[in-house]
Amino acid sequence: MEKQKEDDAHYMVMALQVAKAALSVGEVPVGCVLVLKDHLSIPGGYESVVISHGANQVNATRDATRHAEIVAIDRILTLGTSSDQMRLALDTGMEQYAESSGFQHRQARQKHWEDRWVNVAGNPNHWKNQFGWKNKTYVELRSPEVLQNCELYVTCEPCIMCSSALATVGIKRVIFGCKNDRFGGCGSLLHLHRKEESLCESSANQSLDYSKQSSSKVSQGYTITSGILENEAIALLRSFYDRENIYAPDSKRKRKLGDNEDLIL
């Protein structure tokens, strides 16, 4: 039990590091690490290893579904086909924003921006690059079946989309920091971590046609643990929402493009 608590804090610190990196590139600071534990596939005698990690890439891909959890899964299974490989260059849109607002954005002017998505480009031995993701030696870890032995550490409760995605890949356990009151699918709005009740067993919706459901797969659910380094996760999110999202369309902004005199990014 004590060992699990230590593990939870250890890996949540890593998830927070990933989230901080997302903040530095203008994304909502939610980060996660995918940890394989106590499994024969684990190389080198380790008890557990981080096989993938992810942060929001919604702005960078212009894809609202690229949340941290989806990115981490996409990285381990496809080497980032629908996330990293779709990302725009970091300064895309920044120059346009700077021109239209008359605001000289420091980052937009920085041409040789370090790629902070992987954070440690050029260091293959860093924990982010060591196993699974980005390491060609461990191809066997890039299998959907491996995810069924993984635990996901994420700074904020997975939204409904991510909670059901985690059920789809059969994740074993999800550990999160703060709750997601607006979109959370692990207890806040829905309980998608629980074992799914099959339509055949349901007493509700008697008018539904069950004939096609008899052989359908249902989610077996996954264990959740909440509140790990919760305050740190909340503080990170606050630091993002206290400032303007420069990628949001003008109609969604509190401050319009013309009102930039007091804009602090």
């Binding site: 609202a64 579904t65 086909t81 725009l88 409904i160 059901s164 995605a165 789809t168 052989s215 359908s216």
Partner: protein
């Protein structure tokens, strides 16, 4: 799964809108209490009641005062009314609605102790103009036409042009090709096709290894691809003019999306989702994201969209 039940409200026979069942409907009439007062007292007492004893939310659609003589005249003007014989004209009194609670104390601000009488009143706001007229014969009722259910239904009804466009897309793009498409409803243009995006992603990675790369997700990602092209100044279409995700667009699918897919559409700011329940992927979980879980209309989320099931065999 075939769904055509009381949970849904029919916008057309071919496209049935998926709606979350409403909470139990309020009764048409309920019992309340009123008191009779002389007309000269009315203004003062109504002002005091508004301060001290406002009508509860459940009776907020009712006016506070009823003139029984006026109501009787209205009733007499109704056809098939069994009129009573001429009676001696009584002293004119007005009736003031108090609420549901008979034990309420009114003596603190009234100079007399009123007798409360039981009265039947409309239990909910009228749904239509016709119902409003009916309710007014029971107790004077407020009616806001633009907020009525009847008006709301009119606004939501699909017009023949929409039905024609939706049918054409379903038949020509979705059912015949078994793909998911995203369409701009203003001109019926197909913006993104799941099969095209699949081919593009398949060329750079093994997306078959990812169970989350579903047709609905791929179609949404096709839209994101266009937005990225516009952001990097490689196109001059509407995305360059500020098109944001799938705002204003409709998605058509040959199967009902799962919760995962339905929530992805919500994140992508979809306008409408139309599906034909023709196929099913047995390897997905949390299916029936719309007809069972109503992900498109969850309370509290930052966006909602309308969803329809297509019944190709039906005719209007």
């Amino acid at each position: 799964m075939s769904l055509k039940s009381e949970e849904t409200s029919t916008s057309s026979d071919v496209f049935v809108e998926i709606r979350k069942p409403q909470a139990e409907e309020r009764p048409r009439t309920v019992t309340a209490f009123m008191m009779s007062i002389e007309p000269k007292q009315c203004s003062k007492i109504v002002k005091q009641l508004a301060q001290v004893l406002p009508l509860p939310e459940s009776l907020a659609h009712l006016k506070r005062v009823r003139n029984p003589q006026k109501m009787k005249k209205q009733a007499e003007s109704l056809p098939n009314n069994n009129d009573e014989s001429e009676k001696k004209k009584p002293k004119m009194m007005l009736q003031v609605l108090i609420g549901h609670d008979k034990s309420v104390s009114l003596s603190s601000f009234l100079s007399f102790e009123p007798t409360l009488e039981e009265v039947t009143v409309p239990g909910r706001p009228p749904k239509s103009d016709a119902e409003w007229k009916e309710f007014n014969h029971i107790w004077p009722t407020t009616f806001l036409p633009l907020r009525s259910e009847e008006h709301h239904e009119k606004l939501l009804a699909l017009n023949p042009d929409e039905i024609e466009q939706m049918t054409n897309i379903m038949e020509e793009q979705v059912r015949s090709k078994m793909q998911v498409v995203v369409v701009d409803p203003t001109d019926g243009r197909v913006i993104s096709k799941s099969k095209d995006e699949y081919a593009l992603q398949r060329a750079v990675g093994d997306i078959d290894n990812n169970p989350l790369a579903t047709p609905v997700l791929l179609a949404l990602q096709g839209v994101s691809r266009m937005e990225r092209q516009a952001a990097s100044k490689k196109s001059k279409d509407e995305f360059s003019k500020g098109q944001y995700l799938c705002t204003g667009y409709d998605l058509y699918a040959p199967y009902e999306p799962t919760i995962f897919e339905a929530m992805s559409c919500l994140h992508h700011r979809l306008r409408r989702l139309v599906y034909w329940d023709g196929t099913e992927n047995p390897n997905t979980v949390w299916r029936n994201g719309l007809s069972r879980h109503y992900i498109h209309s969850l309370p509290g989320t930052n966006h909602r969209y309308r969803s329809f099931q297509y019944f190709p065999g039906s005719t209007d």
